[in-house]
Structures are given as structure tokens and as C-alpha cells.
Amino acid sequence: MIRVCDVSFRWRRQDPLVLEIADLEVAAGERAFIKGPSGSGKTTLLNLLGGVAVPEAGRILVMDTDISALPGARRDAFRADHIGFIFQLFNLLPYLSLIDNVLLPCRFSPTRRQRALARATSLEAEARRLLGHMELDTDALASHPVSRLSMGQQQRVAAARALIGAPELVIADEPTSALDAEVRRSFLDLLFREVAEAGSALLFVSHDASLEGAFDRTIALVEINRAAPPG
């Protein structure tokens, strides 16, 4: 699913390297936990995998496509088609409805739209189905602005958005760090269930080591990133 070979990256030419990874692999459908304190290069790695940043050297293969070799517009299209993202906080656009927030990837990716339509009669029905699986009462919540949802509810909406159109890869960046322990547990369970159903690989980035037991594999970023400060 993912292969990172001899990749190095720095933000600006005069800056030091922030990322240097010889080899990183994630298999299809695998649930990988990437562990690392802040400053270990997590953000950089996610930007590279998403094709928003381009490495200085090396290759990043996602589904056997070298995304670092694609032109910018194609990288953006590739990300839209194959990767769903969940962030730590404020995942939702305040001016869009619950359903429209979930459907955002389908607006930019015809592939995701078609796959979503293959699973349900309409895009909205698919969004409602996913929100239902995330145990959100769409009918009760749809009339409120999304900014009024609780943090846990917002993260579940974000998960539904990452999963719509069944992308091959879901990347979650500290999605649970703003949630309290109980909500965190149920969020993870829901996420795992849906990722499994969609058949997506999950790359879960966190500094919270207590979660790693739930994953197939743990990757310590400090160990594989030679440019990371020791710690």
C-alpha cells in the first residue's frame, strides 16, 4: 500500500533535514500505529504521503504510484481519490451542513463519488449510512450548525468523511487527542470497524502510546527517521 524509499525532506533549502527515512512499508488493509513525540516529523510525513509536500530525494509509492513524481494537480487528484484524512481538531467547515461536510471528498473526486454511489442510492444516503455507522443521529443533528457538535461528534463526522467513497488509505493525525478516555475508546472501535468494512489501510499517528495495543503494528518514528532529534 505504502512504500517510502530513501526519502529526505527539508522545508527550505537553508533549513536542516526534518525527515530522512530509509524504508517504511504499510500493507493493504493494515492498521499501522505511528508513534512519535511532537517534532519527530509526523506532520511532515503526512504531508509527504498526502502529496502536499514533495521530498528532496527518494520515492514515495502509494498503491504502486510514485506520487512524488506526479505533477501538482495530479498529486491533488490522487489524494482526493485514494486517501481519507482525519485531523486532531476542527475537521469540519463551519459553513457546510453535516451531510455536505461528509460529502466534500466526492465534490473533488469523481472516483470517490462513483464508489459512494455504488454503495447507496444517492450520495446523501451514503453519507447518512456512514454517519449512522458512526452512531450519529443524523436527523437530530442535521438541523444544527456543525460547530455546535461536541468534539467527539465532530471527530466521528470527520471519520465518516474520510471513509466516504472507500479510499484505499485512511490517515488519521492524532484524531483522539482532544477526546476524553471513554469517547476515545468508542471512537477507535467505530473507526476500526468502518476501516475494515471499507477495506482501507489505516495509518494512525499519535504520541499516545496507550493506544498502540489495538493496532496490527507499531512504527516508532524516532527510530526510522534519522533526521529526528533523539528522544
Binding site: 502536499v52 491533488d76 482526493a80 473533488f108
Partner: protein
């Protein structure tokens, strides 16, 4: 294109600031279109006031001054022309008709014009239209008067009413010609020209009310009864100006040269169209200044929008990052801001246009009554639409500034906001 829908929803979400921005642009567009409207309507109204007249003749002064006091009743003549001089020219073979004009008196703020019955026969306005009566007809008797439509309406006069003419142009002065009241013999239809605000009497009528006056004051102990006046020779000694219609248009310049070189007294003959053009040239600078000011007001409106979009830029970095994560290209981010600016400007322009018509509806009767300027309410002209198009294009260009900054930032931020 999902960007247009996103831009629209994003603006709705900030409806308070967006509405104020739209309003600022709307007011500026109203001003811009309004200035243009008043300018063209004023020109049309001036141009409609006189037609079919080949020459206007008065005492030697400036062409514009002569045009203004003889046709538009603006300002005063510095000197008169003699009756003999007038008849001399009127009787030339090239001349088809003349309309003598004698100004200087007023009735409750409206100018009094002494003229002949030829006025009702030969005066043309708005192309080829002649004066028509809503009631009555031209003056017959020495003390008959014919009122313009606005005079009759605003003073509430009807046929047969008695009115008293003031001496000079003062408002309801106490030096009036109380002993010689005039009877309303006719009321003219509305023309949309200064005729509407004019009280017409015969030249002899003007002479009659001045028979016992000398040098602007009443001669003490000298009052002449209306009956005695009728027996007097009331042929005027002088008039203010006269309009000339020629047998052949070809003679215009020959005739003008003849009058301007008239030996017996200094006269000035003008072609109304040429003098009008001189007037426009004179007003061109003021018009340009007015247009420049309204263009700057539009620029201020757009500046307000720029401030709104730039101020929102920082708090929207998160939004840009989310859009990038779901597959938006940096170009989409650019498009989002440009679309927002264009939508704001387009809404502002349309609202401005609507506002213009609202203002016109309210102002039309007031401007008509106070300035005699009829603002017609007509669909927007091609020029109006071009102006609106330009404003929207300027809004688009203005939007490119925050759009470019958002574009640069989203390239740098990627999916994570780096602060």
C-alpha cells in the same frame, strides 16, 4: 465546479459582514449610475427645450448667457434690444417667423414672459412638438395671461382666476402691480421644459403694467387706470431677445453674420445647438470631476471588500487545510476567494441598480418640481450595463489579491496549519 457552491455557503455563513460589504458596493454603484443618469437626463432635457429655432438674437453679450436667459430663464439679460432693431430683422425676407421675448417680471417666484401669439404657433420643443392647451387658449385681451402647467398646478390656478404680477424677480414683493390684475385665459399642457414654470402675457401687457413706473419705482401721484391704458399706445420700446425661424436653413450663417454686424445697435445671434454645445464643453470639467468622485467611491467600496477578505484570511487557514486534505488544489483555494469577491461585487452592483430605481422613484417628482428636470425611469442603458460589468471585473481583480495570498499560504501550509 464545487467552488462556486462553497463560496456561496461561506458567504452566507458570514452574512452580516458580507451584507455590509454588499451594501457599501451597492451605494457606490448607485452613485456612479446616478451621476451618469442625471448628466444624460439634464442634457436631454436641455436639448429638448428648444428645437426648430434657427437663431436666437439678443443684446451683445456671451452666447451661453443669451441661451440661458432667453430659453432656460436662468440669469438675466444685461441689456435689451430696441423694438426698431427687432422689427428691422423680423421683416427681412429670409425670416419666416419670430418670437419676441420680454423678461424681467415675476409672479410668486415664476418668471413672467411677455411675448406675441406667434409663441404658441412657432415654439417647438422635444423634437417637433408644439405647445398645447389643457384649457383655454392664447391671450386675447391686454390683461390676459397663459400659464405653464407647473404654475397652474402649484399655485392652484384655474381658468378665469385673477393674478397680480410682481415687479422685478422678487418673491411676492410688495412692489406689485396690484391695480392691474391679469385674468387666466389659458393653461398649457406639461412640456417638461421651462415653459411649464412660465407666466405668459402679451408684450402690450408688459408695457401696461410698467406705464406708470419709471426707473424701477412707481412715479408718485401717477396712477393710470386700466381703462385709460387700453386707449394708450402700448407698443413696446424694447424687448429682451427674440427667436428666429428662417425660410431656408441655408441662410442661417448669412443671417447670423448680418445680425452680428448690424450697424444700428450691438446684437448677438446664436445657433441654439452650437451654444448648447459650448455649454456642455463648459460643464465638461464639472462632469468629469463628478464622475471621478463616484469612481473613487466605488474604489472605496471595493477596498472595504478587500479589507473584509484579507481580515478573514488568517482565521480561514484551517478551512484551506481541510479543503486541501479532501483534494482541493491550490488553484481551487484561489478560485474560492476570487469567486467570493466576484459574488459580493455582483450582488452589490445589482442591489445598487435596484437602489438607483428606488431613489429615482422617490426623487423624480421632487426634482421635477424643484428643478424642472424630468428624470425618466427607463431600463438600464448599454452604458449602465457596461459600467456594472466593469465594476464586477474590478471586484474580480480585487479578489485576486486575497486569493493569491490564500493560494501562497495553502501551498506552504499543506494540510497542516504551521504557525
Amino acid at each position: 465546479m464545487p467552488i462556486v457552491a462553497l463560496a456561496w455557503k461561506s458567504l452566507l455563513n458570514r452574512s452580516a459582514t458580507a451584507a455590509l460589504t454588499v451594501l457599501a458596493i451597492a451605494v457606490s454603484v448607485t452613485l456612479l449610475l446616478g451621476v451618469e443618469k442625471v448628466r444624460t437626463e439634464a442634457k436631454a432635457s436641455f436639448a429638448n427645450t428648444i428645437s426648430g429655432t434657427d437663431l436666437i438674437v439678443g443684446a451683445r453679450s456671451g452666447a451661453i448667457q443669451l441661451l440661458l436667459y432667453s430659453v432656460f430663464r436662468i440669469g438675466n439679460a444685461t441689456s435689451n434690444i430696441s423694438w426698431r432693431g427687432y422689427r428691422d430683422i423680423a421683416e427681412r425676407p429670409e425670416v419666416a417667423w419670430t418670437i419676441p421675448l420680454s423678461l424681467g417680471d415675476s409672479h410668486r417666484g415664476f418668471r413672467v414672459l411677455g411675448t406675441s401669439r406667434d409663441y404658441f404657433r412657432h415654439y417647438r420643443f422635444g423634437g417637433k412638438r408644439t405647445l398645447a392647451f389643457t384649457s383655454g387658449g392664447p391671450f386675447e385681451d391686454l390683461f390676459d395671461t397663459v400659464l405653464g402647467a407647473d404654475v397652474a398646478r402649484s399655485l392652484g390656478y384655474a381658468l378665469g382666476d385673477q393674478i397680480v404680477i410682481d415687479h422685478g424677480l422678487g418673491q411676492a414683493g410688495f412692489t406689485n402691480h396690484k391695480d392691474k390684475p391679469f385674468r387666466v385665459a389659458g393653461i398649457l399642457e406639461k412640456t417638461g421644459t421651462p415653459v411649464d414654470r412660465t407666466v405668459h402675457v402679451s408684450l402690450a401687457g408688459i408695457e401696461a403694467i410698467h406705464a406708470d413706473w419709471q426707473g424701477g419705482t412707481r412715479v408718485p401721484g401717477m396712477t393710470i387706470s386700466a381703462e385709460r391704458l387700453r386707449a394708450m399706445d402700448l407698443r413696446p420700446k424694447a424687448i429682451t431677445a427674440f427667436q428666429v425661424g428662417l425660410e431656408s436653413k441655408l441662410a442661417v450663417f448669412t443671417m447670423q453674420r448680418y445680425i452680428n454686424g448690424y450697424r444700428q445697435e450691438p446684437l448677438l445671434a446664436i445657433l441654439p445647438g452650437v451654444a448648447l454645445q459650448e455649454l456642455w464643453d463648459l460643464m465638461g470639467t464639472a462632469e468629469a470631476a463628478l464622475t471621478a468622485i463616484s469612481v473613487f467611491v466605488v474604489a472605496t467600496g471595493l477596498l472595504g471588500m478587500l479589507i473584509m477578505l484579507l481580515a478573514g484570511l488568517n482565521e480561514r487557514r484551517r478551512e484551506m487545510a481541510i479543503l486541501r486534505s479532501v483534494g482541493a488544489r491550490p488553484l481551487h483555494v484561489f478560485g474560492l476567494f476570487v469567486t467570493e469577491a466576484t459574488v459580493l461585487t455582483a450582488l452589490g452592483s445589482l442591489l445598487g441598480l435596484a437602489l438607483l430605481y428606488a431613489v429615482l422613484l422617490v426623487a423624480q417628482p421632487i426634482v421635477d418640481a424643484r428643478f424642472g428636470l424630468h428624470l425618466s425611469i427607463s431600463p438600464p442603458t448599454a452604458r449602465d450595463l457596461a459600467v456594472i460589468g466593469l465594476v464586477i471585473a474590478a471586484g474580480f481583480a480585487t479578489g485576486a489579491i486575497p486569493a493569491y495570498r490564500a493560494y501562497r499560504r495553502s501551498l506552504a501550509d499543506g494540510m497542516m496549519v504551521r504557525s
